[in-house]
Amino acid sequence: MKKQKSILLSLIAVAVLGVGIFTTMNVETKETVLIGTTLPDYTVEFLAENTPFAIKGKVIDLVQVPVQYDDAGGWNIFTDVVITVQDDLNVKYTDDTITVRVQGGETNKAKYVYESSPEFVIGEKVFILVSDKEPESIYGNNYYVGGLMYGKYNLDDPDKAKNKDPDRNMSVKSLEEKIKTAKSKSNT
């Protein structure tokens, strides 16, 4: 009886060990692939004057997009960022949510990071200047962030608007004033 128990325990121990080793051996460590980019130094004022929506909201979902191929056959990796809309400073956008497509994301093989892409996390409060849909572009029939990283600010701190480029950080008040001034200029 004692012998049987010890055999059973040994078998369980071997099984647990086996599963552990199998799991460890099969853990995929995804390689990170960086893509270097050259982005014109778009100012907030320029983007505000030339994009249709200035959205304040909260990120609620990040959806990986399957690899997309452009007209020349080049690969493109995207993530769709779903944002609940709290305010559009331009008072034009009417839906409750907006989805913007950003370069970068994950495939089975690797994580792709584009240097100039705006970065989003679920739950983050954001401000984005949204470019109109350009169906002929790599973004297809989707909205994207105008000026890429220069068109997105993190608003988790109620007083501070933070950009991926720290030199562009400013107060939320200052950001809103810049946008309203630029917008009024483009409307006259």
Partner: protein, 200 residues
């Protein structure tokens, strides 16, 4: 007395030397950052030019048959890298091997160009076909926005990414500063020294 004079001279010289070091601009010691991965396998990359897309890239105000112009300007930048005195070898290939140069629509408010780093098999340098480029000139500023107009300057920058160089701080004397300036005209000393250490 004699000893005092000697000591004071040594102290003065040391102080002056220290001041010179402290007052020398940081840029003199700047180093272009490396992307963190391995260098190009064998130090080389073969570039295939996708003429179907490059022919219609806007170069010198013209949008027809521009592949030759692009090949000439990217080719000149490739020669700059090949002549640096390290083991980098950029060359043209008639068919795709590991890298290609092409043009696509990266969006009106998107990147002007993009390039992969060395840790990828299917590498590229690609230009935004919504931008206007040129075979002369340098950087261009329109409506307060600066971008690289000269294709050869832009290619120096993109091929730096292809070799493994990240962006350097904008104040550096580097072809890898993020926003176009005159230092894009060729590969600079601080870029070259980093490449030397990865492509001996």
């Amino acid at each position: 007395m004699k000893n005092n004079t000697k000591t004071s001279m040594i102290l003065s010289t040391t102080t002056i030397a220290l001041l010179v070091v402290m007052l020398t601009p940081n840029a003199a010691f700047a180093s272009t950052p490396w992307y963190g991965g391995s260098a190009l396998p064998n130090g080389d990359a073969g570039f295939w030019f996708h003429c179907t897309s490059l022919n219609v890239l806007n170069v010198d105000g013209d949008t027809t048959d521009n592949c030759t112009k692009v090949q000439s300007k990217v080719g000149a930048a490739m020669v700059t890298y090949n002549n640096l005195g390290n083991s980098i070898d950029y060359y043209n290939t008639p068919t795709f091997t590991d890298h290609w140069v092409y043009a696509t629509n990266l969006g009106l408010f998107g990147n002007s160009a993009e390039a992969t780093y060395p840790n990828i098999d299917d590498g590229y340098v690609r230009f935004n076909n919504l931008r206007s480029f040129g075979t002369t000139g340098g950087c261009q500023t329109t409506l307060g926005i600066t971008y690289a107009y000269n294709l050869q300057w832009l290619s120096h920058h993109e091929l730096g990414h292809s070799a493994g160089l990240l962006h350097a701080p904008q104040t550096d004397t580097s072809t890898m500063v993020p926003t176009c300036k005159s230092t894009w005209s060729t590969v600079q000393t601080q870029d070259d020294s980093v490449l030397d250490s990865h492509y001996p």
